[in-house]
Point group: D2
């Protein structure tokens, strides 16, 4: 059994990691940390858990963590994550980081979009981007994995096959994304109070969301050429889930069949991507509480426009589920281990 | 006082018309009709109304309606509306139709998108499209007004100024629209049951929604040339409101300032369109229960993409509020009469 | 026109007061105060308002307020309200206080249930409890009005007629109340974040809610004898509205007809209480955005149990609407002024 | 492996049974039936299921069912269930019925409250009431199990220990229950449309809900004497879950400690009842998607009132979860099998 620590276990992604690890056949929870002074049982955090699970959430010293754990899931605010990641790597530990700190190759791009210094640029070279559908080989045996952002996962899975196959214009891509509120994390915020969000809906950070460079970096790598996107996120009065409606322009040579074939080729063997039948499109309900990304594609026969709709659970395929999928790939476990859904 | 009948008063748009007309200074309710056998007081339909309002909803004979009423708001299913409109026009009555039956100039286009015969093509010539921001002159003194669809109102107000000023490519327009559930009307439907819709979200009729030709017809008329759009509607777990995120491509000559100026010129004197300050975008909450359409514009300086976000209440500016606005324009009443909001 | 100041205008009750006062025929807004440094237009707080309303929310000096305003609505946290009320009374101003500070006659009871000292016990003697249905005479011409709590209003209106008529046991009353989230005010709270409250429901402060003594004080006064209640509040995933299900035990002599007659006698002339027909019970929807309290009564013929259900909007009849009703009663304005609903 | 058929698999309880049975170690799904003409894969009903699960929902002949299956879960409308149950028993099959048809011992009581004839009164003698916490012995090896109603489960678990121990008056019990919308089943209904229910809340069937006699029958059996209750259900704008707030009157002799001891004694070894710590009460969130019933108790020291709050998931402990628990008890499987929760 692999000893896994969840660092910063009390947020929404920590809760999902705990739930999955409790059912994992090859990994066990060795530490659940918090910066709060008082320790408390995991049932205080997750009241649905059975009473006979004995796990405590508490502060741990670094030396204690070094002894107890081999793999570290970091659920920390950005800027904190990079420091912890660096320290853990020096101690020879495996790191799967759910923050944004290790995702962007270029520290300057990070500094521009996140508005803060990157104090551990050294780790960026070692970090592998943990999107198994496109980077499975690199993830196998990796020491440090940058778990992708929730929006970038939905965008990359919907666009990747098309730019990889060279079927679309790479400078004419629009991502209109709609996220449930847990995407914002568990911090107190007036805009996410029930009274403010219920029955409401709006776009935010129009044209300037910090996930934009991550999307472009991933797609450029997949395409082997520069890809740029227009990305507009919206906030839904919904607990969890992201639905992205993506608009692309087909190249002349790219017929309807080639478009569909690109998706089938890319995902035929993928355990967590499901293509909808022609004319059908995914709903958040289909993927909530699962690690699936569902994809529907319309290649309009009477124009050169392609519409791709992707849906995923931002806390699972968009965060903790994908982190476990990365764990499974990294260690050679069956990829669905801990992630089977009903 | 103008005598106004609401034909088909029990649906969601009927309720909103009743609420507004009860506060209107120059119009009174002369008849509220239903096809149900039993008559009932208006308070059964709208429990928030005071007890001392004496209005009955019941079936009316045509001759009774002819005697009692001068203006007819039609809240009927499509195909029924056109027959009633024709009959009322023959009787010399003023008709404001909230269905889709009078909106499309070409009966063949109607038949293609609505999948049913247009049995009263004669009325199409007489009907005026009731979008005051672009067709106020024609609405003045009109005998028959086709009240615009909810999606087309949000789309036309967001795109109209740009195609009118010739600032954008007219074949590269994407409308990603999200609607609250009342847009579907008051008919029973499994997909709009609370259990099915709550916490859910999805796209529907992707690339084939029947409002597409109405949007293109209106914009083509405003532009003076052919305009085509990609239109994808989505269903929100929200009572009311439509938010449309619109993506356009700026022509070379169209600088940032020209784009903003086009909106300011178009709407400076409009009582029901509000432009957001630069960098700000509307929320559904801002316009629910009002007749406003709020608009935010991003003209991206580093690309040729323009993003326009419009928000309105589908039951008011997208239906009954606009119908009253049309009444006010038609009869020369102050345009805000009955529509002031807090 | 009466000059009215709203002190602490940025909370949920302040917003409702502003909306009503903007439509009031005999009162105008003379000041809207906040403790925030920066002033801002009322439209920032209430985006649905028309642009041509010119009102600023800003900090005001006390001498400025003394000059500008005659009536003061206090929307302040408890303990702050009592100090301001005392100061304003010394300056000869009329005070309508929406906090709990002036409601309990006995400062010791206040201190026990609110866990803080009452630093202005002198004001308690002068304050009139502003529940017009039972204390209209005292409210007329009052100088200081303690606006009732939201739960106490729904409880008192449902129980008052029965204890006044001596039809029920006064020591066997259960109030099971369910409130929308705005009852908790606009303060940031983890439990009222959308993710935490949506699809959730629970009882809180079971048997120890601070509104209990206010309910008992009011009912004891109405009954002319000691009344005690069991009060259990619950939190609904709903914006606004309180529904209280009240269980009482009928005295032997109290027949079914007497029970119903007690309600009819009490409320026949009341502008804001509506009795449901026998067998019918109110829904939150019927009273949201109105100043009504709707009441349904079941006097079970086969037992001695009476069930009363009351519904009101906690921000209107439970707060700001009732405050305006008190203003109208106090100054002899028509009682519905500003409070008509559609 | 036990071969289990779900008869009427397309409703909400059918879906939950399928999800559980797919993870059960000793039972397998042998048939999923519908009256619809067309067969369809289980993924159409439950889109979150993995693609490699091969199960079809279709109509089955009775002889086919007799061959394929040993245990039958009936998810049928009432009146249909009793006929099918009778037929299956004659064929020697084990029946677990989720309808109300087998719950009431006295066919006349059924006919009074359900307003329809009981056409198979013979089965009532054989049916065992499937509430394991009170009737585990009878359930072991039973041939026909009447699975309890959702409201009766929450009521009986909250009241049972007190009437069994003789600590409360048996004619002074009030159950104020609040249910999520799935309790009404999957039938189309105007009152459960999103637009009608969202932000709404109300009591229904006040004093005349058909679950009343079931609650009284169960409690009378547990108490060994006649128990009567006042039962008022309410509808929550929530997907799933029932929270019941129960008010009882303590007998003189029944001290605070005895009350708490009664619950501890009753539930110390129960796998699916969890007692909250003193002063704490359950939330729907704690039990949704689990088979738990959580219970909080207040024995008011200064009065003779006891308040008990119970929470459960109406589709699990209130229906399908309890049906599986009954299966496990009946066949001697570990009682938590298939029902472990995270």
């Amino acid at each position: 059994m692999l000893n896994c620590a969840v660092i910063g276990a009390t947020g929404y992604t920590g809760v999902e990691l705990i739930k999955i690890l409790l059912h994992h056949s090859y990994a066990r929870i060795s530490a659940l940390t918090t910066r709060q002074q008082e320790s408390f049982p995991v049932q205080s955090l997750i009241p649905t858990l059975a009473a006979d699970i004995n796990l405590e959430i508490r502060s741990h010293s670094f030396s204690e963590l070094k002894r107890s754990s081999d793999v570290f899931f970091l659920c920390l605010p950005h800027t904190e994550a990079m420091k912890t990641a660096e320290k853990l790597r020096r101690a020879g530990k495996i790191v799967i980081d759910l923050s944004a700190d290790l995702r962007l190759r270029d520290a300057r791009v990070y500094e521009k979009w996140y508005g803060t210094r990157h104090v551990a640029p050294g780790v960026l070279k070692e970090a592998v981007y943990g999107l198994p559908e496109f980077f499975r080989k690199q993830i196998r045996g990796a020491k440090m994995i940058a778990n992708p952002g929730c929006y970038p996962t939905g965008a990359a899975l919907g666009i990747g096959p098309l730019v990889k196959a060279g079927l679309v214009e790479t400078d004419d891509i629009i991502i209109d994304a709609k996220s449930g509120v847990s995407g914002a994390g568990k911090k107190l915020n007036m805009t996410t109070q029930f009274y403010e969000l219920d029955n409401n809906f709006y776009a935010y950070r129009v044209g300037r969301h910090q996930h934009t460079p991550e999307i472009e970096q991933t797609l450029s790598q997949v395409a082997g050429r520069n890809v740029s996107v227009t990305f507009v996120p919206h906030l839904l009065p919904v607990d969890r889930g992201i639905l992205s409606t993506i608009y692309l322009r087909r190249k002349k040579k790219a017929g309807h069949e080639k478009v569909l074939a690109a998706f089938q080729t890319a995902y035929a063997k993928e355990p967590f991507v499901r293509l909808k039948a022609p004319g059908q499109f995914p709903a958040l309900r289909d993927v909530q509480h699962t690690n699936y990304c569902d994809i529907g594609v319309l290649s309009d026969p009477k124009s050169d426009r392609i519409v791709v709709v992707t849906a995923l659970d931002n806390l699972l395929k968009g965060a903790s589920g994908q982190a476990i999928q990365n764990l499974n790939v990294c260690f050679g476990f069956p990829e669905r281990e801990g992630l089977s859904s009903w």
